[in-house]
Amino acid sequence: MQFVKEFRNPHLAEALLAQINLVAERIGRTRKRPVTVMEVCGGHTHTIFRYGLDRRLPANIEFAHGPGCPVCVLPKGRIEDAIAIAHKPGVILTTFGDAMRVPGGSGSLLQARAAGADVRMVYSPLDALALARANPERQVVFFALGFETTAPSTALTVLRAGAEKISNFSILCQHITIIPTLRALLEQPDFAVDGFIGPGHVSMVIGTEPYAFIAQEFKRPLVVAGFEPLDILQSLLMVLLQIEAGDARVENQYARVVAAQGNRAAMAAIARVYEVREACEWRGLGQIAGSGLQLRAEWSRFDAEKRFAVLPHHLADQEQCRCGDVLTGRIKPPQCQAFGRACSPDHPSGALMVSSEGACAAYYEYHGVGEAA
C-alpha cells in the first residue's frame, strides 16, 4: 500500500484544509455567491464522500458532482440491448462486475443470468477473448463500457481478435468520451460551476491538452487530480487559488501518473479501432452529440450490434428523478423527490443511485437518508 497511504495522511489533510480555509476566506471578502467546484469523475465523488471531505469545506465552497461515472450514465436501453443479445442461443455475454447490477427496463444482467442467459463477469476484455478461444462453438460478446480509461483495452482486444482471426468474438460498444459532455454542460446558460477537478484516469490516456477549451473559451480553471483525499484537497486548493487570482488554466496535480501528452499508444489504439458516434445517450443527461465511440467500418465484423442485428432499445429516464439537475450542480441529491424513497441503492430508479461512484448513492451511503427530510 506504499504510494497510497501517504496520500491519506490525516495530518497533511488538516494542513491543506487550513490553506483552503484561508483562500476561501479571502475569496469571500469580495464575492457573495459560494464557489462551486465540480469533480468530474465518479472516483473523485467516491473519495470525497468516503473521507467526508465535503463536510470539512468552508461554508462558501461547494462540490458539484459531475457525470464521470460510466456505470451511472449507462442508459437503460443499452442494458436492454445487452440482455437481448445475452438471451440469443449460444451466446456468452461478458462484462465488468458493476455493470451487471445496473437495472434496464426489464431487469439487470444479473437477473438475465438467473433467467437462464449465460452472463459472466470478467476483469478485462482479454478474459472475454480467452473465453472465445476456449469456446469456439459459442458466440462470446463483451459489453464494453467506460471512458478513455477502458476504451484502449477494448481496442487492443479487438486488434488481437483481428490478428488471431477469432470469429466468435464481438463487442457491444458503449464507450463514451467526457469532453463533449463537459462542453454540453458548459454551454447550458445556468451552469453555475466555477471550476473543475479533472478526471485522473481519463487524463492518463488523453493528457491535459483536450481540456484547454474549458480555460480558454469558458474561463474556468481545471486541475487534473489523483484519487486519494490529499490529491482532492490539493487540487481543490489549486482551483481556488486560480479563482482568487482571476486565472483560468489547466493544471496537473496528478503528475505522478498523468503526462501532459497522455498515453500515445493508448490513443493510437483508440484512433485505430473506433470512430465517433453521431450521438450517444447518457442516462440522466439525454443525447449528447459526438460523445460516444463505435467500431470503425473495418472492424465492424466484431460489432455485436451488427452481428446479432439488435435494434437499439430506447427507454426514457424516470421522470421523478432529477439526475440531470444533480449532475449540473443545480440541486443536491437529497433535494430530489425520489431520493431515499422511490430511489435507493437497492432499487435505483435514477442513474446516480446505480453505482457507489454516483453522487446519489454516495450521499445515501455516507450521509444517510436522514438528510432527505
Binding site: 490525516p10 473521507y51 467526508g52 458493476d98 463500457l145
Partner: protein, 351 residues
C-alpha cells in the same frame, strides 16, 4: 485410507454406482468416509447416531442445533478446502452461541466424475478439523448425481452442542456502551478465494482463515462470561454481522475504521478491485460484543489464543437516537459513512 475402492475406473473417478445403494456405495462409505471419521474399533452401523442424554445434560442446560450447506469454487484453496469449511462453519455456528460442540453430521452430494483423490483430501481435511475442534462426525449420507447436476461436490453439515446455563448470548442482547471486538484480520477468506479462482492474475500469499473457533470462544467465555453477543462473520463479512446486531439490538454501532485489523495483501486486493474488507467473507473470525468494563480483559483473553493474536477493539454501541439500528464507520479524517448491506454479492468496480 489405503483400502481399495470398488466401482472406480482406472482414472480414479466417482461414478453413479457409488450412489446406487450397492456394493460400490458400501465400499465408498467404508473406505473413504468411515476410515476417516471413525475412531477406535469399527462400530455397528445403525441408521442414526445415538447420543447419550446424561452426558449431554451434565455439560449444560440447552441443546444447540445448527445446519449449513457448503458450496465453494474452487473446491480447494490456500488454507483449506470445502471439507475444512464444512466442519469449521458448523462448529463455529455452535461455538458463537456459547455451545460446546459435541457431534456433527455430514451429507455429501458428489458429481459423477469427481476425482476420488480430491474427495479423499476433502474427507481427510474434515477429519483433521473435527479433531482440532474436538468433535466427532457421527452420521452422514452420500448421493451421486449426474455430471452436470452438481459442481463437483456439495457438503452439508449439521451439528449439536450443549450450552452452559450461565451463557445467554444473543444478537439482540447488545447494550448501549458495549464494546465490539474481532479476533483478527478481516476478509482473509474472501480475498483468498477471489485470488484462488485465478481469473484476477493477482499473485498473493493469501490464505483462508478457515479454523474452528470453539477453543477461542471457550477462552473468551472463561475470561468474560458476560459476553452479550457473538457471531462468526462469514458471508456478508463483519458488516453483515454488525448490521444484524444493530437491527436486533436496536443500537447505533460505530466502527473505528483505523482500528480494523486488515492484512496488507487483503487491503491491496480490495484497493485494486474496489472492494471493502468489512464485506468480505471470513471463516475463522467472530465478532464479540462485551460490556465496556470487560473490554480489555476480553481483548487480552482473545490475544492469548493463537486464533486471536490480532484481535482488536473495533467499535462501540450507543443508544440509537432515531429509534432504528444503524452502523456508522468513522475514518481517520473524521468522515462517517453509513454501512448499508448490499443486496447481493460485492462486485468489482470497472475503473
Amino acid at each position: 485410507m489405503s483400502g481399495t475402492l470398488t466401482g472406480v475406473g482406472a482414472d480414479g473417478r466417482i461414478t453413479l454406482a457409488h450412489g446406487g445403494g450397492g456394493s460400490a456405495m458400501r465400499s465408498l462409505i467404508d473406505e473413504v468416509f468411515l476410515a476417516a471419521f471413525t475412531q477406535g474399533p469399527p462400530a455397528v452401523q445403525e441408521d442414526q447416531a445415538r447420543l447419550d442424554l446424561t452426558t449431554l445434560a451434565q455439560a449444560g442446560d440447552r441443546l444447540a442445533f445448527t445446519t449449513d450447506a457448503f458450496v465453494v469454487e474452487p473446491l480447494e484453496f490456500p488454507g483449506g478446502n470445502i471439507g475444512t469449511l464444512a466442519v469449521c462453519g458448523t462448529v463455529n455456528d455452535l461455538a458463537v452461541g456459547g455451545a460446546t460442540p459435541v457431534a456433527l453430521s455430514a451429507a455429501f452430494v458428489l458429481a459423477e466424475g469427481l476425482e476420488l483423490a480430491l474427495l479423499r483430501r476433502v474427507v481427510e481435511a474434515m477429519a483433521r478439523s473435527a479433531a482440532q475442534a474436538g468433535v466427532r462426525i457421527v452420521t452422514g449420507d452420500t448421493k451421486v448425481v449426474p455430471r452436470h447436476a452438481c459442481d463437483g461436490l456439495f457438503v452439508t453439515t449439521s451439528g449439536v452442542g450443549v450450552i452452559r446455563p450461565e451463557h445467554t448470548i444473543s444478537i439482540a442482547a447488545g447494550q448501549p456502551g458495549d464494546v465490539v471486538l474481532v479476533n483478527g484480520t478481516l476478509g482473509d477468506h474472501g480475498a483468498a478465494i477471489l485470488c484462488a479462482r485465478g481469473d484476477l492474475a493477482l499473485q498473493t500469499h493469501l490464505q483462508s482463515d478457515c479454523a474452528p473457533l470453539n477453543t477461542l470462544v471457550d477462552t473468551l467465555l472463561r475470561a468474560v462470561p458476560s459476553v452479550h453477543c457473538m457471531r462468526d462473520a462469514t458471508r456478508g463479512g463483519v458488516a453483515g454481522v454488525l448490521s444484524e446486531l444493530a437491527e436486533a439490538s436496536n443500537v447505533l454501532v460505530t466502527v473505528n475504521e483505523a482500528a480494523l485489523p486488515v492484512h496488507p495483501e487483503v487491503e491491496g486486493v480490495c484497493e485494486i478491485l474496489g472492494l471493502d474488507p468489512l464485506f468480505l467473507a471470513n471463516e475463522g473470525k467472530l465478532v464479540a460484543v462485551v460490556p465496556a468494563c470487560h473490554a480489555e480483559h476480553a481483548l487480552a483473553a482473545m490475544q492469548s489464543h493463537p486464533l486471536g493474536r490480532n484481535a482488536a477493539i473495533i467499535g462501540t454501541l450507543q443508544a440509537s437516537a432515531s429509534g432504528q439500528g444503524a452502523v456508522h464507520v468513522v475514518n481517520e479524517f473524521g468522515g462517517a459513512r453509513v454501512l448499508t448491506m448490499p443486496s447481493g454479492e460485492q462486485l468489482p468496480r470497472i475503473c
